[in-house]
Amino acid sequence: MPLCPYAVAVLTSSPNGRLLYVTAPMPDTAPSDAELIEAWRRGEEAAAAELVRRHARAVARFLSAAGAGDDVEDLVQETFYRAFRKIDGFRGGASFRTWVIAIGSNAFKDLRRQYRRRPVVALEDREIPDSADPHAEAVSRELAQRLQAEIVELPRMQRDVFLLRAQQGLEYPEIATTLGTTVGAARVHYHHAVQRLKRVAED
């Protein structure tokens, strides 16, 4: 019987004396985010690099949807740099990923302020889902472009709440903790964002 790499084999005997070959899932040996954070606090650079590998793409998706355009990679780097510099401020109220995304939102805000005269977002075909995506077939490219443009124009809190919930799949309590607001206020921001996006789509 072939064994997958994520299983361990145990040789044991049955009551009738026959040998049995039993497999069991291999225990998850990957360190948790909390363990990596502790390792980074002790000065282990490899721990910081591993945390970047784990969460960089999620941060990039958020920033890109928020309108970061071609600055995504630089922004992701800046985001993690800021996060590790103030890692002592991470209390664990939200997940590390959510906390980093909130820092990314701040970094993006700073970048927009820095380039105030620059167009906020350049919509590109490459950001629109391609036909290989099952949902993309039901969504016109033009409509998706309009929606993304509108997301970028949403007030920051509405945009962040909408993306954290709709894109990152977070629950309201974690969103509220991360953004420093209440659950009720987060719900209201989400509602306003959805109403505004619906209006754009129906125009």
Partner: protein
């Protein structure tokens, strides 16, 4: 258009940018910046401890002087120096008084050569003596 549809659209937004992201390059960049920060912090610490002793003494002196300015304001209720010193001086002999002057590097030309006790000073002389001792 319903809410689930919006969420599906949101979920695929940014997916290509994320896929294009060179995660290893980002990780290397972050680590390099953090390493540079730590090196800079270490360098600053070394610079401080390697600074000439004079600089550190100057800093310590500045702290003492500042404290000297601030503390008297706090201790306004302390007794007048004359009230503390006069009884002590009164018990000293002429020789002992001379030693006190010497230890304080205060010249006492009149009283140094004349064997007088503290009780021989009039009020004006005593005030002058106290003024000298207080600097």
């Amino acid at each position: 258009m319903d809410e689930p549809w919006l969420e599906r659209v949101a979920k695929v937004m940014g997916a290509r940018a994320a896929a294009r992201l060179d995660v290893e390059r980002v990780a290397a960049g972050v680590v390099a910046r953090l390493r540079a920060d730590r090196a800079e912090a270490t360098r600053r610490k070394r610079v401080w401890w390697r600074a000439p002793m004079v600089l550190r003494l100057a800093a310590a002196l500045a702290v003492l002087v500042t404290a000297g300015v601030l503390v008297p304001g706090v201790l306004d209720h302390r007794p007048e120096p004359a009230a503390v010193i006069a009884p002590i001086l009164g018990d000293l002999s002429a020789d002992e008084l001379t030693e006190v002057f010497d230890s304080l590097s205060i010249e006492a030309p009149v009283h140094e050569t004349v064997a007088v006790g503290f009780e021989d000073l009039n009020e004006a002389q005593l005030q002058e003596l106290l003024r000298l001792m207080e600097g």
